[in-house]
């Protein structure tokens, strides 16, 4: 092959690289055959021997604080600010921050894992091949069994029940699972009674021009509350940036965000002020304590986000009392925190006149 032919060939190869709609790898969590809990190795330790549990990431933190706080030997979050700790009375004061284990950027060394002497390591997320093989490697090298809990909302009840049994806390697992199941059924009832199918945009980051596409775990609370994610058909399940022009073209009925910085900026930005959703006071800042309600981390905390989103999307069918009763019950059962009316106000749990200040 002479130089020119080689060049034109490599040029053609380079330019024909498909830039867009890169097929996302199949996810175990979205297709059929979902497993709520994946133990590694397959048999796992006997439940009665599990006394020390290590959390591998923020999603597992939320899960374990709710399910087995007394067995927790470390939280992955390196620091727990007091305003967050206030809603988590079950967490011991001196619980160390151990760092993240797998996934993007590990800050926890294998040696430290062994030194902490956990009976089991719990992580959460979509159990894809890469994730499973990472934990297999860790379990193989340290001899400590691991378990992956599914992070998806529809798997949540089954996951809590199964994991509760494996961690030797079957009653708690059962109680949390029952609450989850009845809440999901209750919200589904509200959704069916309501005829509303609002079109919702999730504004992420301080600019508000980052969003979650359809099927992304970050948009799950929106998609499960009977609303339509305006970015659902823009691509595969992932996060993406969008242009202001695209947002104008989508013209969502409702905008929700978890970014305080964006919420403040949108109050003065004329472009956002011109959007119909903002004009009609339908820009909502989601509560973010003790963890984010809509996402970050995308764990069982999003059941709160689902309750909150259902209230926003189907307010007429979801009376105030009913709404606060569900929130209070979640906080008591999952976080061990008795919410007062004052707390509810502090959490910004209301969805009334939060569109404009």
């Amino acid at each position: 092959m002479d130089r020119r032919a080689f060049l034109s060939l490599s040029g053609a190869l380079l330019t024909s690289l498909p830039l867009l709609h890169w097929p996302a790898p199949a996810r175990a969590g979205t297709g059929g055959g979902t497993r709520a809990v994946t133990p590694i190795p397959a048999h796992g330790p006997p439940p009665e021997t599990v006394r020390r549990i290590l959390s591998a990431g923020p999603v597992a933190d939320v899960l374990l604080v709710s399910l087995a706080p007394e067995k927790l030997i470390g939280l992955s979050s390196l620091d727990m600010p007091p305003w967050r700790r206030k809603y988590l009375p079950r967490i011991p004061r001196d619980l160390p921050g151990t760092g993240r284990l797998a996934g993007r950027g590990s800050t926890l060394s294998l040696e430290r894992i062994v030194a902490l002497r956990p009976d089991i390591v719990v992580d959460a997320g979509d159990a894809d091949t890469h994730f499973i093989s990472t934990l297999e490697q860790i379990a193989g090298r340290t001899g400590i069994p691991c378990v992956i809990a599914s992070g998806r909302l529809p798997d949540m009840a089954a996951m809590l029940r199964d994991l509760g049994e494996r961690l030797g806390v079957p009653e708690r697992g059962q109680a949390l699972a029952d609450f989850t199941q009845s809440t999901l059924a209750h919200l589904a009832g509200i959704r069916e009674r309501s005829r509303e199918r609002p079109r919702v945009y999730l504004a992420r980051s301080a600019s508000g021009l980052e969003t979650a596409l359809g099927g992304s775990i970050h948009a799950e609370a929106i998609e499960h509350c009977g609303a339509i994610n305006v970015a659902a058909h823009a691509g595969q399940a992932r996060l993406a940036r969008v242009s202001m022009e695209q947002l104008v073209a989508w013209a969502p009925d409702i905008i929700v965000t978890q970014s305080e910085a964006f919420f403040q900026a949108a109050q003065t930005n004329p472009l956002f002020q011109a959007l119909p959703a903002v004009k009609q006071n339908r820009l909502y800042l989601s509560p973010s304590l003790p963890w984010g309600w809509l996402e970050s981390p995308p764990g069982i905390n999003r059941l709160l986000g689902l309750i909150w989103m259902t209230r926003i999307a189907h307010g007429a069918e979801f009376p105030d009392d009913d709404y606060t009763a569900l929130l209070t019950a979640f906080f008591r059962l999952f976080y061990g925190c008795i919410l007062t009316d004052r707390d509810l106000a502090d959490l910004n749990a209301g969805v009334g006149a939060r569109g404009h200040e």
Partner: protein, 334 residues
């Protein structure tokens, strides 16, 4: 083709590309509406904020095209200046650590949950800080060659700041902040409004002035330092003026657009293939080509898919093959 007609041709292409870019976008506006809206605003210089079409056209699409013109032009000019100054065609505007410094500033601001405006400010200061540090180290270094000292300390400080970025990535919340950080580091014009462009423009103009005024001296810098000195040029002072100007320009641009790679490296080459190394002609040609390149790329970034394609990726995909072809087919060996 004379140099004047080359410049006019590029200017014509830039205007044509901008007009085409104004016609396309996610929000459907018919060309007739655009022409009518243009006529109306030319007549009374007012924009009807109640009409969705007008808002999209004048407040979103036009500022973004202007941003592409300004960012593309500034990055290319800065790249041309750096390449001339270092007498090295492989140099890009981030050789002295501007991008890494700006990146660290922006990433830190995202990590601390600051607003977009504060993020821009952090990025701008970060870029300037990194280059100041590099120049200070080079000034104190005990090497005979200032250029060598600059390049070495630029590489070192650049990787130090890049490690800082990695550290913050590790510490940041993987479910919210990390994606914002990644998007910022890939660059994009989707968040830019008219106010951002207006904020960066004074700095860019300020930086452009010495480059334009001293453009003939740049040709002298391509000689050996001793020869240039013999011709009466204060080599060190000229070089510092160019560094300050090009850095200021890059920092102002990176602060509003994020890191857009390849423009500052590839476009000066394209310009040099068009006109040769005479900096007096190279400067305007490079500026126009950069603007044209980014207007075209950004139009693709915002129209090809409903979601944005990060500009940094697109400039590489378009710029690199082009660059490789130029590298093999054109140049000195002919």
């Amino acid at each position: 083709m004379s140099n004047r007609s080359r410049i006019l041709l590029l200017l014509g292409l830039l205007i044509l590309a901008s007009l085409v870019s104004l016609l396309v976008g996610q929000h459907d506006i018919s060309p007739a509406t655009i022409v009518r809206s243009m006529g109306r605003s030319l007549a009374d210089l007012g924009v009807d904020m109640s009409s969705g079409d007008d808002v999209v056209l004048w407040k979103i699409r036009l500022p973004r095209i202007l941003a592409a013109v300004v960012v593309g032009a500034a990055l290319s000019v800065a790249g041309t200046a750096y390449q001339g100054m270092f007498r090295n065609p492989l140099v890009s505007p981030d050789i002295l650590g501007v991008s890494a410094g700006a990146g660290l500033g922006a990433v830190l601001a995202i990590y601390l949950d600051f607003s977009v405006r504060v993020t821009q400010l952090f990025a701008f200061s970060g870029g300037l800080l990194a280059v100041t540090l590099v120049c200070a180290v080079a000034w104190c270094a005990r090497t005979r060659s200032l250029i060598l000292a600059l390049v070495l300390s630029g590489v070192a400080v650049g990787s130090l700041f890049a490690s800082g970025i990695s550290l913050i990535k590790i510490l940041s919340d993987p479910h919210s902040q990390l994606s914002s950080i990644t998007f910022w580091l890939l660059g994009g014009l989707n968040t830019i409004g008219a106010d951002d462009v207006l904020g960066a423009l004074p700095w860019i103009t300020l930086a452009l002035a010495p480059l334009v005024l001293l453009r003939w001296r740049m040709n002298l810098l391509s000689f050996e330092d001793d020869e240039a000195r013999a011709m009466g040029v204060d080599v060190t002072r000229t070089r510092i003026a160019f560094i300050v100007a090009a850095t200021l320009m890059t920092s102002a641009v990176v602060a509003i657009s994020g890191v857009i790679g390849w423009v500052g490296l590839v476009v000066p080459h394209m310009a040099r293939f068009l006109t040769g190394p005479d900096f007096r002609i190279l400067l305007p040609v490079s500026m126009l080509s950069g603007a044209l390149f980014l207007v075209v790329t950004d139009t693709a970034a915002r129209t090809v898919a409903p979601v944005e394609i990060p500009l940094g990726i697109l400039t590489a995909f378009i710029g690199v093959p082009f660059f490789l072809v130029l590298l093999v087919r054109g140049g000195d060996r002919r």
